[in-house]
């Protein structure tokens, strides 16, 4: 009797670890955004190649995070302004997403193929959290999952104001593309 209880306890302790084996992750996901207006003389775009993503297969939960200071611009001064004046990255160092795949049954993680996932959740950026919804393409290929998600973010939603003097260059909405390869977590 005593032993069986011990066994149950052991199982319970080990269970989260067993479940966590069903996670997929990436630490070098690419986040690219373009916030250039039509007809702007210079492009306002940047790329961050070290986004973190975790997908829990059983629940369909998805979490992603990216460091604001990791966005690289072509122009050093633009990068400084992005951090200092717009994103205030010393105060708000990260942008995060917490959500889930709504149509989890439509994705077969065990079979190679391309699946369309409906993803919804909360985006937190510049200290503001907003619900977002997008479609992601998942490509299961021999134990890896490639993903692509494109969505737009309205800067004003996140308390980022566009001064009139740059309104002819900086768009009110940023087009974001989020891509990467997920690997099984061991």
């Amino acid at each position: 009797m005593k032993h069986s209880i011990k066994l149950v306890i052991l199982l319970l302790v080990a269970l989260p670890t067993i479940l966590s084996a069903q996670k997929w992750f990436s630490r070098d996901a690419k986040v690219y955004f373009d916030a250039t207006t039509k007809g702007s003389p210079e492009r306002i775009e940047a790329t961050n190649k070290s986004g973190t993503v975790v997908l829990e297969q059983a629940s369909g939960r998805v979490e992603a995070s990216v460091l604001i200071k990791g966005f690289l611009f072509e122009k050093a001064l633009m990068q400084e302004h992005f951090n200092e004046n717009y994103m205030e990255s010393s105060k708000f160092p990260k942008a995060t997403f917490k959500g889930k795949i709504d149509n989890l049954s439509a994705v077969n993680f065990g079979q190679n193929g391309t699946y369309t996932a409906q993803v919804s959740g909360d985006m937190t950026m510049h200290g503001v959290t907003k619900p977002v919804k997008t479609t992601a393409t998942l490509k299961v290929n021999n134990g890896k999952i490639g993903f692509t998600a494109n969505f737009n973010l309205l800067l004003s939603d996140y308390g980022i104001s566009v001064p009139t003097m740059v309104a002819d260059k900086l768009a009110k909405e940023a087009k974001v593309s989020f891509t990467g390869d997920l690997q099984p977590m061991k």
Partner: protein, 292 residues
């Protein structure tokens, strides 16, 4: 014994449930350990060099302009009519650490060339709590000796007599988003001095600070304390107060200063006017950057 196990069971169950709702990203996320950005808005605050160097592949075109002194009165419209001094500068950094620049100042017809190196960058965590930048510069005056006829000799007969130098160790810290301060032990060397009793070396402790009161505007302050006795000519410590305004690719700096000179040997050690007598002047710097 059994009761104890039974008590532990729901606790474990609870911990499991909590664990399942845990942060998925835990242990995976990177820590932000990049250097502190933008301690100052530009490579110069008013007259003084700051700890900043331009970003990678950035060419900084600078125009510095000082009007005449306020105490010149109505006739010269308080300095706006005359006495303007100007420096044009082209300054470049390829890697965002090492900067070189050249400039030309109207007062004394000075050409200058300098190097600036960002030795240490302040980080939010760890032991690097300050930024340290080294600055070294040489100045060459191209003017003719005004007293050549009277004295019967040319004091610039030897071309090295036209040279002077400045060296600084600039130590700065961004305390928060608004307040940044720096101090810079400074050495100035003149190859040629006016009097036989004058010293060739001048030591100055330079201090500067800025307080940002909006995202794009800041109050700036500078003071240069001359430490050693180096001449019998009456000079004063340089003191300036100003406003930084940022407009996209430009930084516009406007200020009041008692120093008409624009090079380190001029404003640190040869400021002839003082605030007390309204020997102050209005000035501005414009910086425009290009990515090359």
């Amino acid at each position: 014994m059994k009761a104890k196990y039974l008590l532990a069971l729901p606790l474990l169950l609870l911990s499991f449930l909590l664990n399942a709702q845990d942060d998925l990203l835990e242990g995976l996320e990177q820590e932000d350990n990049s250097p502190v950005l933008a301690t100052f808005k530009g490579t110069r605050l008013i007259n003084h060099q700051t700890v900043e160097v331009p970003g990678r592949r950035t060419l900084d075109f600078r125009i510095a302009h000082r009007f005449g002194a306020f105490n010149s009165g109505w006739y010269d419209f308080f300095g706006f009519d005359n006495g303007a001094s100007i420096r044009f500068g082209l300054e470049y950094s390829y890697d965002g650490r090492l900067q070189f620049g050249i400039g030309r100042t109207s007062i004394d017809k000075v050409g200058d060339g300098f190097l600036k190196y960002r030795l240490l960058r302040q980080h939010p965590n760890g032991w690097k709590q300050v930024s340290v930048t080294l600055f070294t510069s040489a100045y060459y005056t191209m003017r003719k000796d005004p007293d050549k006829e009277a004295n019967g000799f040319d004091k610039y007969e030897n071309w090295t007599s036209r040279l002077s130098y400045a060296h600084q160790i600039i130590i700065g810290r961004k305390f928060d988003d608004r307040l940044s301060l720096q101090i810079a032990p400074t050495m100035i060397h003149y190859n040629l001095v006016d009097r036989i009793s004058d010293k060739n070396d001048v030591f100055v402790l330079a201090a500067a600070g800025r307080y940002k009161f909006t995202k794009r505007a800041a109050l700036t302050l500078e003071y240069g304390w001359r430490i050693n006795e180096y001449t019998r000519t009456q000079y004063y410590d340089s003191f300036s107060v100003g406003l930084d305004v940022e407009t996209g690719g430009h930084v516009f700096q406007m200020f009041l200063t008692n120093s008409p000179g624009l090079t380190e040997p001029q404003f640190f050690a040869q400021t002839t006017d003082q605030w007390k007598d309204m020997g102050i002047r209005f000035g501005f710097n414009i910086s425009r950057v290009f990515t090359l």
